[in-house]
């Protein structure tokens, strides 16, 4: 019986630059058809991870496999299409010429006209590459990454420099790619993109994997419900701090409805249990609101907690 190897497999991969360990014992596996977002604060090791995956850098220790082979072999076989932020473009040639070159280099190319259309650059096909705006250059990079029938598409901050409309169109295109069974891995700092598009989210922090799961799971892990209510009279903060599943607590006297007392804001990993305990303390919360946390807040909470734990 044969099993298909993971699309991407990192096994205890480390990579350092001088004293800094950009990637530190990282292990992960991506499976066919997944759309995976790679998140992390600046300096978390996202770019290094992508460089290792694409064979642009070599690991100090551990192994990186792509479709069961080395990254370079996978690229030569045309299985990987990639778009890097740091990927420059050949200047003094037209967009059409450059995309034509990418198609020619790919073992299973698409028709250049189709690639141009899909990336939304048909209108600017005759323009010189060095005369493009940032957003246009991003779309040309995307065209290069999708010049042929690759099984894995890697995108580093793909929508940087795009306006909202272009960004939406870009992700619609990306969804099509994923729906055709391709594996898509993208790094982004727009967390709403990760929330809306990825079916799996990896959170990197200091070269390690801090969280790995669906956006919903990441939010739950971060204590991802926000509870707020107003209280009359004195507030017993120490008592509130004993509430179960509480991750953060703030009490403010401003911003609450006229005539009411201070407002309590709580982040909780289990809102039901926490609210229940509020009543059990004998309190009468008014204007009670329970809301889900966005991935952005979850991400900030997670990395801040890790920062606090390790420093």
């Amino acid at each position: 019986m044969t099993t298909t190897p993971p699309v991407v497999e990192f096994d205890q991969v480390s990579k350092g630059f001088g004293d800094v360990r950009a990637v530190d014992g990282l292990s992960l596996a991506l499976h066919p058809g997944e759309t995976v977002a790679l998140l992390g604060p600046n300096g978390a090791g996202k770019s290094t991870t992508l460089d290792l995956l694409l064979g642009l850098k070599y690991a100090d220790s551990g192994t990186v496999r792509v479709f069961g082979t080395s990254p370079r072999e996978a690229i030569v076989a045309g299985r990987v299409g990639a778009m890097l932020q740091s990927g420059g473009l050949m200047d003094e040639v037209t967009v059409a010429e450059l995309v034509g070159l990418a198609c020619e280099l790919h073992p299973r190319p698409y028709r250049p006209a189709d690639v141009l259309a899909r990336a939304g650059v048909t209108q600017i096909a005759d323009r010189k590459v060095d005369k493009l705006s940032g957003g246009q250059a991003q779309r040309v990079r995307f065209a290069l990454a999708t010049a042929g029938d690759s099984d894995l598409i890697v995108l580093d901050e793909p929508t940087t420099g795009m306006d909202v409309t272009t960004r939406r169109a870009f992700w619609a295109t990306m969804r099509e790619q994923a729906d055709q069974g391709r594996t898509v891995l993208f790094a982004t700092h727009y967390l709403e993109e990760a929330d809306a598009i990825a079916d799996r989210v990896l959170v990197l922090h200091r070269g390690r994997l801090l969280a790995d799961g669906t956006a919903a799971e990441i939010k739950a892990k971060a204590g991802a419900r926000r509870i707020s209510f107003d209280l009359d009279g004195e507030i017993d903060e120490p008592a509130l701090r004993t509430l179960p599943f509480l991750t953060t607590l703030t009490v403010s006297n401003s911003g609450s409805a006229a005539g009411s007392g201070p407002t309590v804001r709580i982040q909780s990993a289990d809102a039901d249990a926490t609210v229940h305990a509020v009543y059990a303390l004998g309190l009468y919360p008014r204007n009670l609101e329970v809301a889900g946390l966005g991935l952005e807040q979850a991400f900030v909470t997670l990395t801040a907690a890790e920062e606090a734990r390790t420093s």
Partner: protein, 246 residues
């Protein structure tokens, strides 16, 4: 691979400034140096007239310009812009980039050689046998590969603002010391001793030997071979270093 060569060429042919300097400029310089000389003045110890002698020097100079100037700066710039990285995400083999650059430079260097020959023959009545014209073209064209390798090495050695001055110094140093602008026989003796080991002098000497109806000197061939090994070795080493770093 062929696609990249084609695109590099298209780009080189679009660049008017580069074309002017590598194709027209050597002929202009030839007319400046040899224009006033009559066709009987001999260059000391060569038996060749000044126009005949300078024709080979300027054709070599033109080929040198085409292969050295274009590549070093382009490679340095494209390493910086990340185009070299982008290419590494394609199935193009690593040395494909360097080969494409060299091939396109070689295509541009051919007209720069031929134009100097045409001008010399038309304006200064330089006359040679058919086999000599062919052998000259072949020798100067093939010899330019030595300097193409140097251009690649410089492109990987220097970056950003440093590459232009370094290339310029190398280019002018090689042109002048190698006697491409004026015969080395006009140099003081000590400078002639140095010039003997300069690859551009050996390069031009190949062509001049053909004009004299002689077999190229073994020493010149050896000097060129050693520098070719040195430059390609250096380029390969710097290229590998850059690849590991990127």
């Amino acid at each position: 691979m062929n696609g990249l060569i084609k695109l590099e060429l298209t780009r080189a042919l679009r660049n008017r400034k580069f074309l002017f300097f590598s194709v027209i400029y050597p002929s202009v310089l030839f007319l400046l140096v040899a224009g006033s000389a009559d066709s009987t003045t001999k260059v000391d110890g060569t038996g060749l007239t000044l126009p005949t002698y300078m024709m080979v020097s300027m054709a070599s100079f033109g080929a040198l310009t085409a292969v050295l100037m274009g590549n070093s700066e382009r490679i340095a710039k494209e390493r910086e812009s990340g185009w070299v990285r982008q290419l590494r995400l394609t199935p193009l083999p690593g040395r494909g980039y360097v080969l494409a650059k060299t091939a396109s430079a070689a295509v541009v260097s051919l007209p720069s050689i031929v134009v100097v020959f045409a001008v010399a023959a038309a304006v200064k009545d330089v006359r040679l046998d058919a086999w000599q014209w062919l052998a000259l073209t072949g020798a100067i064209w093939a010899g330019s590969l030595v300097f193409a390798a140097l251009g690649v090495a410089l492109g990987y050695l220097a970056s950003g603002d440093a590459v232009r001055p370094i290339t310029m110094i190398t280019y002018f140093g090689l042109s002048i010391l190698g006697g491409l602008w004026m015969p080395t026989t006009t140099f003081p003796a000590w400078l002639q001793d140095i010039a003997k080991w300069v690859p551009t002098r050996a390069y031009a000497a190949l062509g001049q030997a053909i004009e004299q109806n002689q077999v190229p000197h073994a020493q010149d061939l050896a000097v060129l071979a050693v520098f070719f090994a040195l430059f390609t070795g250096g380029a390969a080493w710097l290229y590998r270093k850059d690849t590991l770093k990127a």
